[in-house]
Symmetry: C2
C-alpha cells in the first residue's frame, strides 16, 4: 500500500515523481483511489484551469508551450495535461515528440502529463478531472488541459476547464468545420494561430461573423475575443495571456467562476455515481437474482421492465 | 390512452396497424410502455429470431426477401425488422426503396418494419428487443432482424437473435474486413451471396480458413456452415433455410436455445435497469441534494467519490 499522506506532501513540495504516482493512482482506479481523493479534497480549488482544443495541425502544443513560458515568467507553477482520446498510448511519459514542450522538461515549476484513452470505466471524461485535481492539490497555479481533436469527448473534457480556448489556423472552411464540431459554442477565447499565413484575417473575420450570429447579449455578457498569434515565434502570447486573465477576472467578479465549478462538480459526482451503479449491476451478472429474473422473462411470467424494477429495488436495499 | 388489451388482441389476429401501433408505443417509450410490455410477456417465446448482418452491398435485403418467400411457402408468419443505425429516418414506413421487399407488402402473413437511430435512452440496442417482443407476441413464427452495417451496435443487435447470419459477397479483403469488425465471432451461419460472381469460391475458402483458425472444438460443437447463394435469382435459398433449421434444431436439442435466451433476457434487464438508474440520477439535476454535494466538493470539504456515495445512498433510500 502506498503511504498516501506522504505522497501528497511530496507532491505539494513539487516533486514530479510524487505527482506522477498520484495521477497513476487516480487514473488506474486503484483500491486507494478513494483515500487519495479524500486527501486531495481540502487542497483543491486554487488552480485556474484552461482548456485548449482545436483540430490537429493548428499548433496546440506550440501554443501551450508558449503559455507555459509566459506563466513561468510570472513565477507561477504550471501543470499541463495533454489528452489524446484517439491514442492507444497512455502513461506519464513526457511528450518527447513535442519539441516545443520538451524545453520545459527540466523546469521543476512545470509538470507535464499525457493521457490517452483508457478502456476502463468512463474513459478520459472520467479520468481527466481526477488528474486535474491532483495537479491542483499539488500546487499548480495554472493547469493547461490540451485535447488533441475536436470530437465529443474533447468538447466534454474542455468543458471541465474554467476557461475554454478554441484554436484555429488559417484555411478554407476551418471555421465551418469548427462550427460543425459544436466547438463554437464552447470557446471563451478564440485563437487564430499561424497568423502570419495567408487567410488569417479571413479566418478571424469568418469566426467573428459566426460568433456574432444569434447574438442577443445583455450588457456585461462575455464576448469571446479573437486573438491572433504565431506561437512558434512567440508572437501574440502576451495578448493571449491577457485575454485569459481578462476572462478569469470577468468570471470571478460575477460569480460565474463559482457557478461553473459547481456545475462541473455536480456533473463529476453524477458521472461517478452512474459508473458505480453500473458496476454494481455488472457485479450481479453471476448473481442468482438476475438469473432468476431472466428465467421468468423467458418463461413469459414477467416482462423485462418489471424485472428491471425488481433488480433495482434489490440493488438499493443491498 | 390506448386500449392496450384490445390492441394486443388485434395484433394477435394479424392486423398490421395494431402491430405498428404497439411497436410505436414501445419504441417511443410512451407512458403505456410498461402496460404494453406486461401484456405482451405471456405471449412471447414462440418466434424463432434470425439476425442478418453484413456490409452494405452484400444483398441483405434481397436475401431477407428470399427467406420471407421461403418461409411463406411453408405457411409461416414472418416479421421483418430492418434496422439502420446510421439513418436519421425512423418510423413504421414500408421500405419502398427495397424492390424485392415490396413484393411482400400486400401479404398479410408478413409484417415489415424499419427502425432507425433514436436519440432517446439506449438507442436501437434498447428499442430493437422491444420491437422483437411485439412481433413475437403478434404471432410471427419467424422474425428476421436485418441490420445495415457492421459496427458495434449491429453486432449487439445481431446478438439478440437465436441464430446470427453473417452475409458476405465476393471481393478482395471482404473476409478480412469482416474479421476486423468482430463479425466472424458472431456468425452461426455464413452466406456468400452473389455466388455467381468471380471470386465467390475464394471468399468461401478464405472464410472457411478463418473460421477454422483457433479451432479446438469438441464433438457436437456447432461448426458454422458456409452457404453460397444468388439471392436475386433465388438460388441457394433452400440450402440457406435448411442451414437455419439445422442450427435451430441443434440449439433446441442441447438447451443452447434456452441458454441463449436466458443470457439475452439478463442483458436486456440489465440495460433497462441501468437506463432507469441513469434517469433517476438525471432527475436529481435540479435537486437540492446534488447541488449541496457539489458545493461541498467545490469547497473542498468532500471529495467527488464520497459525494457520489452519498448521492447513491440517497437514491436508493428514495
Amino acid at each position: 500500500m502506498v503511504d498516501v499522506p506522504a505522497l501528497v506532501e511530496q507532491a505539494r513540495e513539487g516533486r514530479p515523481r510524487a505527482v506522477a504516482r498520484l495521477i497513476s493512482l487516480v487514473e488506474g482506479a486503484s483500491p486507494q483511489l478513494r483515500e487519495v481523493m479524500a486527501a486531495l479534497a481540502p487542497l483543491t480549488g486554487g488552480a485556474y484551469v484552461v482548456g485548449l482544443t482545436g483540430s490537429p495541425g493548428v499548433g496546440k502544443s506550440t501554443s501551450t508551450s508558449a503559455l507555459v513560458s509566459a506563466y513561468r515568467r510570472q513565477g507561477r507553477r504550471v501543470g499541463v495535461l495533454a489528452v489524446d482520446p484517439s491514442s492507444p498510448f497512455s502513461g506519464g511519459a513526457l511528450l518527447g515528440d513535442r519539441v516545443r514542450m520538451s524545453e520545459h522538461a527540466s523546469d521543476p515549476g512545470v509538470y507535464i502529463r499525457s493521457m490517452a484513452t483508457r478502456g476502463h470505466l468512463g474513459g478520459l471524461a472520467w479520468a481527466a478531472p481526477q488528474a486535474i485535481r491532483v495537479l491542483d492539490a499539488a500546487g499548480c497555479d495554472v493547469i493547461l488541459v490540451e485535447t488533441v481533436g475536436v470530437g465529443q469527448s474533447e468538447v466534454e473534457i474542455a468543458s471541465q476547464a474554467d476557461t475554454s480556448v478554441v484554436l484555429l489556423a488559417p484555411g478554407m472552411g476551418d471555421g465551418i468545420q469548427a462550427a460543425k464540431a459544436g466547438i463554437l459554442e464552447i470557446g471563451d477565447v478564440y485563437v487564430v494561430n499561424k497568423a502570419d499565413r495567408d487567410g488569417a484575417d479571413a479566418t478571424a473575420r469568418e469566426l467573428n461573423h459566426m460568433l456574432g450570429l444569434g447574438e442577443a447579449r445583455t450588457p456585461g455578457d462575455w464576448r469571446p475575443p479573437i486573438v491572433k498569434t504565431v506561437a512558434a515565434r512567440n508572437e501574440g502570447t502576451d495578448e493571449f495571456v491577457a485575454a485569459l486573465e481578462k476572462h478569469h477576472a470577468w468570471m470571478a467578479e460575477r460569480d460565474v467562476l463559482a457557478e461553473r465549478r459547481l456545475r462541473r462538480a455536480a456533473h463529476e459526482i453524477e458521472t461517478i455515481a452512474v459508473t458505480a451503479l453500473r458496476e454494481r449491476i455488472g457485479d450481479l451478472r453471476g448473481d442468482r437474482r438476475l438469473g432468476a429474473l431472466a428465467e421468468r422473462v423467458v418463461g413469459g411470467t414477467l416482462d423485462p421492465y418489471a424485472a428491471a424494477d425488481e433488480l433495482v429495488a434489490g440493488l438499493t436495499t443491498g
